[in-house]
Symmetry: C2
Subunit: 109 residues, 2 copies
């Protein structure tokens, strides 16, 4: 994609961008909704609910794990996935703050 120059932005800006990426694909939104609502944590359950190949789901789970918003507990041959509450609250706070920075004032357009 062309080199995103992460070094020229603040840590906060890069973190927001990363957290937003968790929600920036409908499949990941679906996964997060499932994990947030139920506690259906097993990967196979997610594969059943999503019309995507097992490899694709696993790849999305890996990305969500990288961001930190989900965690997995290995219990072979299964892996139990769930929301990481700490990061979930971090995201809630980060986005909440971001939206609150909007100053309602007369704009030029």
């Amino acid at each position: 994609m062309g080199v995103t120059k992460t070094e020229i932005f603040t840590d906060e800006q890069n973190r927001i961008a990363d957290l937003a990426k968790a929600f920036a694909h409908p499949a990941r939104v679906a996964i997060l909704q499932l994990l947030a609502q139920k506690k259906a944590c097993v990967c196979g359950d997610l594969v059943d609910e999503l019309p995507l190949a097992q490899a694709t789901v696993s790849q999305h789970l890996k990305e969500l794990k990288r961001i930190g918003i989900i965690q997995g507990e290995i219990n072979p041959p299964r892996v139990c996935y769930c929301i990481n509450e700490t990061v979930w609250e971090e995201a809630r706070h980060v986005f909440g703050s971001a939206f609150d920075t909007y100053v309602a004032t007369t704009r030029c357009c």
Copy 2:
């Protein structure tokens, strides 16, 4: 990127993903922060504040406009950009709801 199968997801899931994309790049986060805090709407001002080429900033602005979270009023040779309050509130609501779906309960991991 491989064809994202938008048709297999709900409208809501696709909308969340799209709104998240607005924040999924640090440059766009920076632009949104600037527009939300100040009312420095002119494209040139943004180019001055960001260490990116004018063409790159314009491209990010186009993407934000596509999502709808910003709007631009043409006033040649300038364009005045600002937050679209309606979509901003939509995003606040959509993410707020998403985070509230988390059911705090005993998880398996």
